[in-house]
Amino acid sequence: MSHKYIKNFIKYRPLLGNLIVRDIKVKYRRSMLGVLWSVLNPLLMMLVMTAIFSTLFKSDIVNFPVYYLTGFIIFAFFSEATNAAMASIVYSGSLIKKIYIPKYIFPIEKILFAFVNLMFSLVALIFILIFTSTKLTFTALLFPIPLLYALVFSVGIGLILSVLAVFFRDILHLYSVLITAWTYFTPIFYPVSIIPHRFEWILTINPLYHFISYFREIILAGTIPGFRENLICMTISVGAFLLGLALFKAQQDKFVLYI
C-alpha cells in the first residue's frame, strides 16, 4: 500500500521541483534585486527592530540583532509556509479538475518554497553573526535540527489548514489574525524574562517558542539542548505532521468537488 504512495511520489518529484522553480521565477521576475530580497528582508527587519528596541524600549537582551533574527527567521518561515499552503488547494482548481495530480504536492510545494527562502535568510544571519562578532561554538553546526523540526511542524499545520480552507473559506481570513496574535505570544523581539511567572505556560504550549529557543541555544548560548527539549520538539512536529497527513488523506478525494 505504501509502496504505491512512494512510487507515485517518485514519479511526481520532478513536478515538485518544477513548481518550486516556477514560484521562484514568478516571485522575482521584474524585480531588480531579485533573489537578494530574501536576504535583504530579514536584514532590514532586524535593523528596524534593533533601532526601536535599543532606543525606545530598553531590554536586557545581550546581542539583540542575533536574538531577534533567530526568532524572526523561524517565525517568518512558519508564517509564510502555512499561509501559502493553506490557500494552495483552493487555488489549484485549474489543475486538479483536469488532470490527476497527487494533491499533497500543492501544500508541500509551497512549504518547500518557503524553506528555500529560509535558506536565503540564513545568509542574512551569517552576515549579522560576523558583524556583531558573535562567539560561535561547534553547536552552531547543529542548526539544521531546529529548522527541520520547524519544517516538519509546518508541513503538518499546512496540510491541516489546506484541508480546512477548502471547506471553510473564512479560515483564509481568520488565519492572518491568528498569526498576528501568535507573533506577540512568541518571544521574538522581547526577552523571555519579562513574561510574568503565571503566564509562562503560554510559552510552554507554543511550539514555535520551543523551536526558536532551540535555535537560539545552539547559536547564542553555545550549548546543546537536552533530551527533554528534543523530545518536546520531536513530539510536536511529528505529531502535527501525522495529524495533518491523516486529515489530508481522509478528505482529499472531496477537494475537487468543492473548489
Partner: protein
C-alpha cells in the same frame, strides 16, 4: 496483467447539489442549527460496469449530461467514484482540455517542462522529446515568448503536442478535436491514428456519430448515467441514429 486496459465495476457517482453552496463557517452553523443540511443529490453515474480491452478504440456517446465527462474523469483519477471500483492498467494521457497547467507568464520552453512534469514525465524524457514537440507544434521561433502572447491556436497546438508526444498506454479524447482549424484537426487525427496503430487504447467521447463510427471498434451509449447499450460500433451507432431521428 490482464488483457483489459480499463475495468469498471458497479460505479456510482453522486454529487451533492446544495441549493446554496455553503463555504463559510457561519452558514454551516446556521444551517446545522436549522437542520437544513440535507443536500439534493444528483446521481451522475448509476451502476456502471464494463471493460475496455487493450488496444481497443472505444467510443462513448450520449446526450449532454448523460455522464460521459464524469466517467472519463473517474477513469483519469480526477474523481473518486462514490461507489464501485475502477482498475486502470497503463499510463493515461487525458485530452480533456488542452494546455492543462500552462502558466501564461512562462515561456513556451518553460511551459513544455512544467506541463511535461504535470503529465508525469521525467525531465530527461522531456528533453529527449523536446525537438519533436517543437516540430509538431511549429513553434520554433516562439520558444522564448511568454504564452500569454500566443494565439489560441498556438496554445492548442502546443497542448496537443505535449499530450501525445510520449506514447501513452491509454489516450482519452473528450471532444477537444473541435478546437482548431482544419489543418490542426487533420494533424490531430493523423497523430491519433498513429497511436492507434501502435496499440494505444483510445477512449473517444464525441457528438459526431460519423467520427465515432469511423474510428471506433466498440461503442457505449450512456443515457442519464446508465449504460443504454454497449457493443460493436456500427450496431450502437445505428441504434443511436435511429433514436436521434425520432426527435
Amino acid at each position: 496483467m490482464s488483457e483489459n486496459a480499463v475495468e469498471i465495476r458497479k460505479v456510482y457517482m453522486r454529487f451533492n447539489l446544495s441549493k446554496e453552496k455553503i463555504d463559510s463557517l457561519k452558514e454551516f452553523f446556521i444551517k446545522f442549527i436549522k437542520r437544513q443540511l440535507m443536500f439534493d443529490e444528483f446521481i451522475a453515474l448509476n451502476d456502471i460496469t464494463f471493460d475496455i480491452k487493450k488496444g481497443e478504440i472505444f467510443g462513448i456517446v450520449g446526450l449532454n449530461g448523460s455522464g460521459k465527462s464524469t466517467l472519463l474523469k473517474i477513469i483519469s483519477s480526477i474523481y473518486k467514484p462514490s461507489l464501485g471500483t475502477v482498475k486502470v492498467e497503463g499510463s493515461i494521457a487525458p485530452l480533456i482540455e488542452l494546455g492543462t497547467g500552462f502558466d501564461m507568464d512562462l515561456t513556451a520552453r518553460e511551459n513544455i517542462f512544467l506541463n511535461g512534469t504535470i503529465l508525469g514525465h521525467t525531465t530527461k524524457n522531456i528533453q529527449n522529446k523536446f525537438d519533436e514537440i517543437v516540430d509538431f507544434s511549429e513553434l520554433f521561433e516562439f520558444l522564448d515568448v511568454p504564452l500569454k502572447n500566443f494565439s489560441s491556436g498556438m496554445v492548442a497546438r502546443l497542448g496537443f503536442a505535449m499530450a501525445t508526444i510520449t506514447k501513452p498506454d491509454i489516450l482519452i479524447v473528450d471532444e477537444i478535436l473541435s478546437v482548431g482549424d482544419f489543418l490542426f484537426q487533420k494533424k490531430c487525427e493523423e497523430r491519433i491514428s498513429n497511436l492507434m496503430r501502435d496499440g494505444t487504447t483510445v477512449i473517444i467521447v464525441s457528438h459526431s456519430i460519423t467520427q465515432i463510427e469511423r474510428l471506433c471498434n466498440r461503442v457505449m451509449w450512456l443515457e442519464k448515467g446508465k449504460i443504454r447499450m454497449i457493443g460493436p460500433a456500427e450496431q450502437v451507432c445505428n441504434a443511436y441514429k435511429i433514436t436521434a431521428s425520432t426527435f
